[in-house]
């Protein structure tokens, strides 16, 4: 079955959406991500949508669902790289993407996750180094 790959980097999960997803593929991603968050006890999820040419109400709703499910599982989500034309269109469509944290690019998205996640990260067995500076 067709799937969008989910990469793990320490406490984070990274997804780059590179295809024009049909609705079923988007729902599979939503399920896969939720499972992976629990499996690896992820604290942050970064979704790169810079290759997406449009975000319609279905994709928007899927991103919002992912973010709220991640939240319940104690993980932060950030959506990065939305193209300006996509953002303009989403507003006119009437979607404000409530509850979704966005960032301009992967770097600032990762920075956001690091800041938010280290804030409530007390004791992590497998992670010796402190990312504070």
């Amino acid at each position: 079955m067709e799937r969008i790959p989910i990469l793990r980097m320490g406490n984070y999960l990274l997804v780059t959406i590179q295809v024009d997803m049909h609705d079923k593929l988007a729902l599979t991603l939503q399920d896969d991500l939720t499972n992976r968050i629990t499996e690896v006890n992820a604290k942050g999820v970064l979704i790169d949508i810079s290759s997406l040419e449009i975000v319609d109400s279905f994709i928007g709703r899927t991103l919002a669902n992912i973010a709220s499910m991640a939240k319940v599982l104690d993980a932060e989500t950030v959506v990065v790289g939305m193209q300006p034309a996509v953002a303009i269109t989403l507003v006119e469509l009437g979607m404000s993407l409530p509850g979704i944290r966005t960032a301009l690019n992967v770097e600032s998205g990762m920075e956001y996750l690091r800041e938010t996640v280290t804030g409530h990260e007390e004791s992590d067995e497998d992670d010796g180094d402190s990312t504070e500076d």
Binding site: K24, E53, S57, P84, I88, T89, G94
Partner: protein, 138 residues
Amino acid sequence: MRTTGTVQKTETVPIQSSSDVVVVRQRVRAWTTDMKFSLVEQTKIITAASELGRNTLEHGGGGKMELSLVVNGARQGIQLCFSDQGPGIADIAQALKDGYSTGQGMGLGLSGSKRLMNEFEIDSKPGVGTSITAIRWK
């Protein structure tokens, strides 16, 4: 729709599955690129097509999209016509309200795609089907 332009060229895309909705987006992308719409306009038209195509599939039980190049004097536009033989829309005004959905949706598809296009007409009869025609002029 009271014809607002002369139809110059057409293409029909069947809509029977969620991957057909992807094809709808790809064909509209190809047409709007050929017609040299700006990137923002292309994005708006494709997004509207995606919403209407999904409605044809989910609410109309499948159908088709007919793409046309319409010309009115010096103006050129793209016309999207989605039709199905599904249950129809009993109350069109209500269906067009932001946030109205008979399913799990956010109810933005119809009202939102109307905002994204210049002309928008719904022709629907309960038990017979729905046909939605939308135009965006250049």
